[in-house]
């Protein structure tokens, strides 16, 4: 009988606790990918993470490294404060779409504009999850939410915000990409992008951000698998997956 090699065990940077996320919510996958990348970079003992206000407010219980909880939207500013004091640590934020694209719009724009050497993992599930499903700046046109009971209407609520494209207008950032949790192939792709966003900091002293299209089965009103299918059919159609900026590999602004 052939020897079986262990090809997966949970990463050391994951604390091993039961996470509170809803069944099928892909926050848990993204936490695991971040933990795997931090392990692979050997960075756990000199990393500092900043968690948001949102479903991931408890990320400090799930990642086995120094963590700071920030006020809503302020994580990039908190990360900036840490990085300016401890420039050799790996500093990252983990933020949802309410946190980053609503109340935190100024902070993310300016951290990106400064090419602040921090890494941002931006989890976009098109809704305010923790507070029970309100419309977010990233809610799609026609998508219903608790504060958009008729579905988002451009004439009343405007259009969704494409964060990565918006940041791509700045000269500052080093790495900007969008990834997806829609299926195994996309999850593996997302890990590569998260890794590159960390390398933008670690190897190039620059700002790296990955927007990850993520599911919210509870407030989308869809079972977990159907929620992933909706990411593929609807979210990826409006928010294209790809690398918009990758300075270390020669892809500059506007290319």
């Amino acid at each position: 009988m052939a020897e079986a090699a262990v090809v997966f065990t949970p990463p050391e940077s994951y604390a091993g606790r039961l996470m509170h996320y809803c069944p099928g919510c892909t926050h848990g996958i993204i936490h695991r990918l971040v933990a795997e990348v931090i392990d692979e970079l050997g960075a756990r003992e000199h990393a500092v993470g900043v968690c948001p206000v949102g479903c991931a407010v408890y990320a400090y219980n799930y990642l086995n490294l120094d963590m700071i909880e920030a006020a809503h939207g302020r994580a990039p500013a908190v990360a900036t404060g840490v990085k300016r004091v401890l420039p050799d640590r790996v500093v990252f934020t983990y933020q949802g779409d309410g946190d980053l694209a609503s109340i935190g719009t100024a902070e993310i724009v300016h951290a990106a504009a400064r090419n602040e050497a921090v890494t941002v993992v931006f989890v976009n599930n098109a809704v305010f999850g923790m507070t029970q499903g309100q419309m977010a700046p990233t809610t799609l046109v026609g998508q219903r939410a608790s504060t958009a009971p008729f579905g988002r209407r451009p004439e009343h609520e405007g259009f969704p915000v494409k964060v990565v494209e918006m940041l791509n207008a700045l000269d500052g950032p080093t790495y900007l990409a969008r990834a997806s949790m829609a299926s195994p192939r996309w999850v593996r792709d997302a890990k590569k992008k998260i890794r590159k966003a960390f390398l933008a900091q670690v190897e190039h002293h620059g700002f790296g951000l990955v927007e990850v299209l993520s599911s919210c089965p509870t407030w989308w009103g869809k079972p977990p698998l159907e929620a992933l299918k909706w990411i593929e059919s609807d979210m990826m159609a409006y928010y294209p997956v790809g690398e918009l900026r990758d300075l270390p590999n020669g892809k500059a602004k506007g290319e």
Binding site: A4, G16, L18, V187, P224
Partner: protein, 78 residues
């Protein structure tokens, strides 16, 4: 033999591993775990090739170990 180890109490019964297993060798159990959810179990462990797709897709890190035989490793080399 390739196999996975499932942490029963971490499993939320979301079914993503079941849906994406390329060998359709996982299912949600008829029983309930400690939290009243139906955890995942093998349909037939011999069908498992240790590809780890279940672990890739598990949002609750309830697949705590994936072992892959050398034969399966060669067959599924990425």
């Amino acid at each position: 033999m390739s196999r996975i180890v499932i942490a029963d109490d971490l499993c939320r019964g979301c079914g993503l591993c079941v849906a994406f297993c390329p060998r359709n060798t996982l299912r949600l159990a008829a029983r309930f775990n400690r939290d009243g959810l139906r955890p995942v179990e093998y349909v037939d462990p011999d069908l498992c090739v240790g590809c780890g797709t279940c672990a890739t897709m598990c949002p609750h890190v309830a697949i705590v170990r994936v072992e892959r035989t050398e034969k399966a490793r060669e067959a599924t080399a990425q």
